[in-house]
């Protein structure tokens, strides 16, 4: 009797799928609380959509095997110290084989220290600052346009309308915004513009009245700046309330949110650089098309995807593609496949720098430039640059 029971038990266990062997564990932290909450959760949603689609299709194909994808994620509370602890835990205790980066350049820089220490591949969908990739790394892969290119489109389009623009740069004193504006100032100088003001403000600033008076005093007709969320929206509103007289305004991040239109007339004409919008016309070599991704996201989350969600999806897509190309989940083989990646996806072109001085920096993906415009009495976000993505002509000067 005992032998029969033992044989039956062995038979059952043999028939069960070997979960540990046929599962890829991807670790990440998400800012479910704290000031980075909105964009980080959006990024997670994109990644989860990818995971669910891959698993529904049977998993990632590696040779003759299919690997299901499992996420292990923790709340980093938008705090660097937590990122440090949690990525260590993800690697050592949760045995994550691959990592997705957290949201925001500051947290990515912290996570990168840990991932490189343990030699784990980490794909980044939410950290645009380029400095992280100049510190010598082997396993970091930035899937979004780097900060230095954020305002290239705005400068190119502005040159068509006002080649002698006088620009006030007013931006948050954080790594991302400083990197974006430092590069923008250099591009603006090359384009022949005049810089009349360069001011950074503490990220906790709530009132820009005196700063905007300074912008007015400088004689500027163009404004580039902002940081993340509340500060960018407050700048837009106060520029309008104080009748600052700007002909062109580009503000980082905040105007990309659909909530920005609640600013009403203050939002009209504001431009924002964006990593991706549902209106783009990219053709995909693999993975979903722009329309398919957008439709699937709307079906799952009852909301239009923003670029954070799109980047969250594409980090999974690029990793999947690399594993399939490598026919392996071995770190070195997948790294080699990622280094060779030159792919067109619904998100745009993705290709990584491979020289040791900039390894992993994104060298192909481009921003689009969106502008809030009145259409039939309602504010809508239109794509105004580049030509390939354009849905409307730019409105200049600001209404």
């Amino acid at each position: 009797m005992k032998k029969i029971l033992l044989a039956a038990a062995l038979g059952v266990f043999a028939a069960m799928p070997a979960f540990a062997d046929n599962t890829i564990t991807i670790g990440m932290t998400v800012s479910k609380t704290g000031p980075l909450n909105v964009d980080s959760v959006s990024q997670l949603r994109g990644s989860e959509l990818w995971r669910d689609e891959v698993n529904a299709a049977g998993g990632i194909k590696v040779g003759n095997k299919h690997y299901k994808v499992r996420f292990v994620e923790y709340d980093d509370q938008s705090v660097g110290g937590r990122v440090q602890q949690l990525y260590t835990r993800l690697i050592l205790q949760d045995k994550a084989q691959f990592l997705f980066g957290p949201y925001s350049s500051g947290l990515v820089a912290t996570a990168a220290v840990i991932s490189e220490q343990y030699g784990k591949i980490m794909l980044i969908g939410g950290g645009a600052e380029g400095k992280t990739y100049t510190l010598g790394n082997k396993y970091l892969f930035q899937c979004i346009t780097r900060a230095g290119e954020y305002l290239s489109g705005a400068i190119a389009e502005l040159k068509e309308h006002n080649p002698h623009a006088k620009i006030a740069f007013v931006y948050s004193d954080d790594p991302f915004s400083k990197a974006v504006i430092a590069a923008a100032r250099a591009h603006a100088k090359e384009a022949g513009f005049t810089e009349v003001l360069d001011e950074s403000y503490p990220p906790s600033t709530t009132d820009f009245t005196a700063v905007i008076n300074k912008v007015i005093s400088s004689g500027a007709d163009t404004f580039f700046g902002g940081g993340h969320y509340a500060d960018g929206a407050t700048l837009a509103r106060q520029l309008h309330d104080q009748k600052a007289g700007m002909k062109w305004v580009s503000i980082l991040v905040a105007p990309d949110s659909e909530k920005f239109k609640t600013l009403g007339a203050a939002a009209d004409g504001i431009t924002v650089p964006s990593q991706w919008e549902p209106q783009v016309k990219y053709k995909a070599d693999f993975g979903p098309s722009v329309e398919q991704f957008t439709a699937e996201y709307v079906l799952k989350y009852k909301d239009l995807p923003d670029y954070h969600a799109a980047s969250g999806y594409v980090v999974g897509l690029i990793l999947q593609h690399a594993i399939e190309q490598a026919h392996s989940i071995d770190q070195e083989k997948v790294t080699a496949a990622l280094n060779k990646t030159d792919a067109h996806t619904f998100f745009g072109q993705v290709k990584f720098a491979t020289d040791p001085g900039h390894h992993g920096l994104q060298v192909a993906h481009q921003m689009v430039l969106a502008q809030w415009q009145m259409k039939d009495g309602k504010l809508v976000k239109q794509m105004v640059w580049p030509d390939a993505a354009r849905t409307a002509s730019v409105v200049y000067p600001l209404p």
């Binding site: 704290g34 000031p35 950074s200 403000y201 009245t209 700063v211 008076n213 300074k214 600013l263």
Partner: protein, 289 residues
Amino acid sequence: MLGLLASIFDGVLIGAVYGLAAMGITLIWGVMDVVNLTHGAMIVAGMFAAYLLSGAAGIPIYATLPIVLVGSFLVGVALYWISVHRVIGQPPLMSLLSTFSVNLVLIGLGTAVWGTDLFNVPASLPGFSVGRYTFPGTHLMAAALTAAIAGLLYLFLYRTRIGKAVRAVAGNREAAELVGIPTAQVLALAFGLGVALASVAGMLIATMFPFTVLSGDAYQLKSFVVTVLGGLGNPTGALVAGVALGLLEGITTPFVPVSWTLVIEFVLFVVVMIVLPGGLMQLLQRRRR
């Protein structure tokens, strides 16, 4: 020159609202020796109350002020009985922990309901312009309402029996009890008033700037600075210090990089702590003598 004058005037307008927010903290601190760490959350509550009442309920924005005042007063009284009453007279750490815990609960609830999304109250009033500089009507109205509320508070504290009771409890709680003042109820009333002042300040701030659930932190920090500058427990001092801080921001911003403004503010804060531990009002009181 005109730019400097514009910044100074604007600074005074905004500083008055900082002062109103700080009056909430200083009143509670002065009456019951409690540092109210729900202050930031109450400012945010006022912002959301203004947003929801004017948006969903369609009430004209400035008509929401009395509703926010009364509603937040009642919330403040409730908060007192729930989280503060038992820690009165206990070591200061107890009240800090108690109010901090409530703050975490409120911000957590707010984040769960609204995330950290952006909200904007589309308030607009005609202002006036001088040269290229415009003074928005919303800033002028916020400063005017602040002055009115500060005036009402003064009348309440110095011209009414209940106000006298509040001052008596602030001066000496035991003596107040000995003469028959129901101190627990007075403390609850004072806490409710402090919370109401914070929420009304939040409502006025929402008419000027967009906000998120986390916007209270920056104003809470400013409120503490203004409270200490004005003298602990002195609502008039808080208003004066708020205006002074706004004035400082207005004077310095045209001349130094914006990132230095906070540094200058905190250097002034440290200097005042050392030279005038009783705050700016101590200086004014010395001059009167």
